[in-house]
Symmetry: C2
Subunit: 177 residues, 2 copies
């Protein structure tokens, strides 16, 4: 993936030609899909935004009930892949780029959609503590990625820790609901 | 606090004169302590770094035992104040400034010292999952501050959620130790 290459070489130092080589395709076919490096990042971010929007639609279509929060959070967290983790690491490492791209693109959508999911799951009359715990559960992979910086922890280890964090928070949420 | 003023007006838009007014002191006495805005931020960050170094020294001076991790994490998390939360929010909102200041100053120290505390508590032969969970427990307030962005949650609510997160992670850690 292009994001993995950005993470190794740095975003600024990576050219579209290198990305094409890395993917084993011609520069022409890469250009056919993406006009620029920014375009690659934006497209990745907007896929993730779509996934969060799909999660919201899915949650809304379920029978409301005590276990809906748990099922929805686990649906999101269990779908975490190494590729998504790389995307999150890229976002964390390039805050200035993210701010630039988020103007008028789909980049802001992921966090917004996840916030909507959290509000829906926490309920209209949820206190702030409950809402924050649900948000933190949905953002488990982001938290684990950030805590893992500099540890040499494997991607698999980070994903596993994120799942543990989500489970711990769901346990905490059961105790206050 | 100067960081609160930076958060309201934005760092770039806040002058040393305004900070002095806000603190109710003369610009001359502010200059006596701080040569620049950067100096104010660096001094805040280095105090927090000192606190993390103190935590490590404290943990090392304790009798090792099963409850040392819990006591150390709670010592750190319970010391979270609204002022510290503002500092964290400021850091999150100004990543580029933080990168600039961290070159050759004490800014990198907080995270480094907390990492050392986490390694010490997790133990030399800790698996990555255990180490990451301890790190996440120590970084609870950072996680809560980040999850609270845009919720209108009060500072007290954020601090309370951070404590719940730390407790949930300590519970998870008990189950794998």
């Amino acid at each position: 993936m292009a994001l993995a290459l950005f993470s190794t070489k740095g975003y600024e130092a990576t050219s579209l030609r290198e990305i094409a080589e890395h993917l084993g395709i011609s520069k022409a076919s890469l250009y056919y899909h993406f006009k620029s490096k920014e375009d690659i990042v934006t497209s990745q971010m907007s896929s993730r935004g779509d996934e969060a929007a799909d999660l919201l639609a899915w949650a809304r279509a379920q029978e409301p009930g005590r276990d809906l929060m748990e099922r929805t959070v686990l649906r999101w967290v269990d779908a975490t892949t190494i590729d998504k983790l790389r995307g999150i690491r890229f976002i964390n490492a390039n805050p200035a780029l993210m701010r630039t791209l988020s103007r008028g693109s789909g980049v802001g959508t992921l966090r917004d959609s996840l916030s909507e999911v959290a509000s829906y799951l926490a309920g209209d009359d949820a206190g702030p503590a409950r809402l924050l715990l649900v948000r933190m559960a949905l953002l488990s992979i982001n938290t684990a990625a950030s805590a893992a910086a500099g540890t040499g922890c494997t991607d698999e280890g980070i994903v596993a820790s994120a799942k543990r964090l989500a489970h711990a928070l769901l346990g905490e949420l059961r105790s206050i609901s």
